[in-house]
């Protein structure tokens, strides 16, 4: 036998390394497809047999149907709007609690994490007790504790605890003084957005200029200044150029409540889906004798409401408001009006998410700081930097690179964990999806919708983080 003839014999395909791999994958694909088909087939059979509620067929048409239920908080939603809009409100509510939660949890976690590496024994131990307790108990228990145990036990609206003038704390939620853009400040949002863009551009230009001239420093200050200038100009423009719409009209209902609106169709009556309410406009109420009986302001929808007034108002007057209006919460019967109100559900969910995630972030921060070489501390001490400066200017920037990846996954966890909202009735996307599913029976579609939404959060975040990581890595070089 000679080698040359043997070398050219082709092995049978099941022994050929090149075909084995393909064979395995084809086999795997077949198994997956067959089991997928089996499951799908069962599902279709069972659905046809009527094991599910009506509308079980895999159709998405239910999304445009009328929802017929109200949503307790978030952007205004009326029951006659569609399921898809209801779901959108849920998404916004998830993002609302998610974004605020992420910011607060980061602050809490940063402080607790720094306390955990502090050489002050007492502070260190206190932080460690906080971390261990909140990490080692389920988030759901914490949430229920805050909601049922703490917030429900707060004073009633009548005995509301006064938060040093910035708001009130009650078992119906938290009421805080807040700043809103008023009717004349509507354009401010665009100015703000423009300010951010101009600020970013200026800070980038400034940094490039600094780099070219070799001066150390960042463009942050220049950017911030540009932002302030743009927003300031916007404010002045809004203040001096915007007037109330010419067709401003009002409608009084029962004398003590009503709505101030821009009469777009000119019929002198407020039509819900046509006319536009005028937000945060100061108004004065007069009775038939021309006596002032009350002053106040409209709310974000242009509506106003006075309680404990004789229903005697016949006429109102309004003034052109400043672009920004400060709205203070005021007691109205069994509730508060004005300001910003945080429902018990939102507050409990936020508290629970922040306290829980904060504990995990603290551990990440601690690990990140510990990952920075001891020599860095010693070197900056030797240069005469204080502990605080060392932490801020030397250690944290380096720790950041270790901290960012696990921090991102904590942020995502926080958003995912906000789905526990269903335990306290906060209308987040998952909670609303359950309401929709219960009403329509669109079980499969509901689950798919929710999963797709959460997955897109993850995807967007990881895309952003990849971009950010690349930037951080570039700085390193």
């Amino acid at each position: 036998m000679t080698s040359s003839t043997l070398a050219h014999t082709r092995p049978p395909f099941y022994r050929d390394t090149r075909t084995i791999a393909i064979l395995l994958q084809v086999l795997f694909l077949i198994v997956v497809l067959v089991s997928g088909w089996f499951l799908y087939n069962n599902m279709v059979t069972r659905m046809a047999a009527g094991n599910t509620a009506a509308g079980g067929a895999l159709s998405w048409s239910f999304l445009s149907q009328t929802a017929g239920f109200g949503i307790s908080e978030g952007p205004t939603f009326r029951p006659e709007e569609s399921y898809s809009r209801a779901y959108l409100i849920g998404v916004i509510n998830t993002l609302r609690v998610g974004i605020v939660g992420v910011i607060l949890a980061t602050i809490l976690g940063l402080f607790a994490g720094i306390a955990r590496v502090s050489n002050n024994w007492l502070l260190n131990k206190l932080a460690s007790i906080y971390i261990e307790i909140f990490r080692s108990t389920p988030l759901l228990v914490q949430l229920l504790f805050w909601y049922v145990g703490v917030i429900a036990a707060l004073p009633t609206v009548q005995d509301a605890a006064d938060l040093a003038g910035i708001g009130y704390l009650t078992n119906r939620g938290m009421y805080l003084t807040w700043i809103y853009p008023s009717e004349t400040g509507r354009a401010l949002t665009w100015w703000l957005l423009g300010g951010v863009l101009v600020g970013l551009l200026v800070s980038w230009l400034r940094r490039r200029q600094l780099e070219r001239t070799g001066v150390p420093g960042s463009g942050a200050l220049a950017g911030a200044a540009a932002f302030v200038v743009v927003v300031g100009v916007g404010y002045a423009v809004a203040m001096f150029t915007t007037a109330m719409p010419a067709t401003t009209n009002y409608e009084l209902r029962r004398g003590d409540r009503g709505v101030l609106f821009e009469d777009l169709n000119g019929n002198n009556a407020f039509d819900l889906n046509v006319d536009r309410g005028l937000a945060h406009v100061p108004i004065t109420l007069f009775d038939a004798d021309g006596q002032v009986i009350a002053t106040g302001a409209t709310d974000g929808d242009g509506a106003f409401r006075f309680v404990d007034l004789p229903a005697a108002a016949t006429r109102i007057e309004w003034r052109t408001p400043a672009p920004l209006a400060i709205s203070e919460p005021q007691r109205q019967g069994f509730n508060f009006a004005g300001g910003i109100s945080l429902t018990p559900e939102f507050t409990a969910l936020l508290l629970a998410l922040v306290a829980y995630t904060g504990a995990f972030i603290a551990e990440i921060v601690r690990a990140g700081i510990n990952a920075v070489n001891k020599g860095q501390w010693e070197a900056s001490r030797a240069l005469g930097l204080s502990t605080g400066d060392t932490l801020r200017m030397v250690v944290l920037p380096q720790a950041l690179r270790v901290i960012i990846p696990p921090l991102t996954s904590q942020y995502l966890n926080l958003v995912k964990n906000s789905s526990l909202a269903i335990a306290v009735g906060y209308p987040d996307l998952f909670n609303i999806s359950r309401t929709i599913v219960n009403q329509t029976g669109a079980e499969v579609q509901g689950i798919l919708l929710v999963m797709a939404t959460y997955l897109s959060f993850s995807l967007i975040t990881s895309l952003f983080m990849n971009w950010y990581n690349k930037r951080v890595a570039l700085v390193e070089r």
């Binding site: 599902m43 059979t45 228990v141 079980e443 929710v450």
Partner: protein
């Protein structure tokens, strides 16, 4: 003798000098206080502020704890432990506890390290429960379990029991537990029906027992799936690889609660009509298993990545086939490396099982909710929610913190944490 700094040459004739005590401000209580609490002005202010905050928290907590109304918890201790499990058949869970304690004891003696730490924790818990007057029978079971744990430990430490035997015993303990709790086996669809006691419906299982069971069964069932997913993801077959990546990222991208609801409502749909509907417990376990598998896969992948390429090459050069290579060389090393991560995942899963209370299973949190709603406590001013949830949190804390404490201690000792 002082150094004569001005002379050009000088010899220390007193050498070697005897060591002297450091100044009082550096050692003892005073020294400790100085270096740890009052090293500079900023630190002192921090200490004082912390003290004030601490005083406020502690006095409030103590006041609350003294004034709190703990009766609902004491009265409902059985429900907190096992849910609605029939009282007459409590010997079945008792047997499970005895079996697990004995296994723990033997394994602690045989394997030491982490199992010994966990076994010690279990012993302390059993001792505490045996001493608290929770009921004579229950106390006897606890004492018996403790005895088995200790005896088992000495047997395990003295007698050479093959690792394989012990591992098989652990694996078999899982179905044994389920059969013991059920009171037999009953699959009418397949014509299997064998009982040694009246069958206990899984909807009656509850409390800490159910919480434990969900976590243990979840991690045990997800283990093989997770390992396969990790291998698939690490492998070089693109179709399988992307399937595994897709599965892992999909599951990790969505909250557990969506999977639980999906399991509850959609799992029955996926089965052939003649199989009937699986019980709530089975649905929850399925959801938890598929959830946990994705996270386990990522942990195992971490272990696989830590194995140098040379190990694969050496195995190949020796002529080991793909399967033998994984079985003898790669997996044993990868899995040992990820034990701490898997313990961490188990702790997470243990906490996450609380979510099944939202889909109608009577685990610890659901028991708590039910207790709060009991009409007896309606008259209690302020309700009993705080007390109940603090207790539930406490139970979770003992187990989670206990496990992470043991794991961390060992991680430091064995240098697992080092990369």
């Amino acid at each position: 003798m002082a150094t004569d700094v001005h002379s050009p040459s000088w010899v220390n004739t007193n050498h070697p000098a005897p060591p002297q005590r450091p100044p009082a401000s550096e050692v003892g209580v005073l020294g400790w206080l100085r270096t740890n609490l009052f090293i500079d002005i900023g630190n002192s202010i921090l200490t004082i502020v912390t003290l004030i905050v601490l005083y406020y928290i502690v006095t409030n907590l103590v006041q609350w704890a003294i004034g709190a109304y703990w009766t609902p918890i004491w009265v409902n201790r059985k429900i907190f432990a096992v849910g609605l499990y029939p009282t007459a058949q409590l010997w079945q869970p008792a047997l499970v506890l005895l079996m697990v304690s004995a296994l723990f004891g033997v394994s602690a003696g045989q394997w030491g390290s982490m199992i010994r730490g966990l076994g010690f924790g279990l012993g302390v818990l059993l001792l505490a429960l045996a001493l608290i007057p929770i009921g004579l029978e229950a106390q006897l079971v606890m004492a018996g379990s403790l005895a088995l744990l200790v005896v088992g430990y000495f047997i395990g430490a003295r007698l050479p029991i093959p690792n394989k035997l012990l591992s098989i015993a652990w694996i078999l303990s899982l179905p044994a537990t389920l059969i013991l709790l059920l009171g037999g086996l009953n699959f009418p669809a397949w014509g299997i029906s064998w009982t040694f006691a009246p069958l206990v419906d899984t909807n009656l299982w509850g409390g800490l027992m159910l919480t434990m069971l969900l976590a243990v069964v979840g991690i045990a069932l997800s283990f093989p799936i997770g390992v396969l997913l990790a291998l698939g993801r690490r492998g070089n077959l693109p179709v399988i690889k992307y399937f595994c990546v897709g599965y892992i990222e999909l599951i990790r991208g969505v909250p557990l609660i969506t999977l639980l609801f999906m399991g509850m409502t959609m799992l029955p749909l996926f089965l052939p009509s003649n199989w009937g509907n699986p019980s709530q417990l089975v649905r929850a376990v399925t959801a938890i298993t598929f959830f946990s598998a994705a996270y386990l896969a990522e942990n195992v992948r971490g272990g696989l990545q830590a194995i140098p390429k040379g190990q694969y090459e050496a195995a190949e050069a020796l002529g080991l086939g793909s399967f033998d290579k994984l079985r003898f060389i790669i997996l044993p090393q990868a899995l040992t490396k990820v034990i701490p991560a898997i313990v961490g995942q188990f702790i997470g899963l243990f906490k996450d099982t609380s979510l099944v209370s939202l889909v109608g299973l009577l685990e610890l949190v659901a028991v708590g909710k039910a207790v709060i709603q009991q009409p007896e406590w309606l008259g209690v001013p302020g309700g009993v929610a705080k007390e109940v949830y603090v207790f539930v949190a406490f139970v979770f804390f003992i187990f989670s913190y206990g496990m992470s404490f043991v794991s961390r201690k060992l991680e430091n000792k064995l240098g697992f944490g080092k990369r």
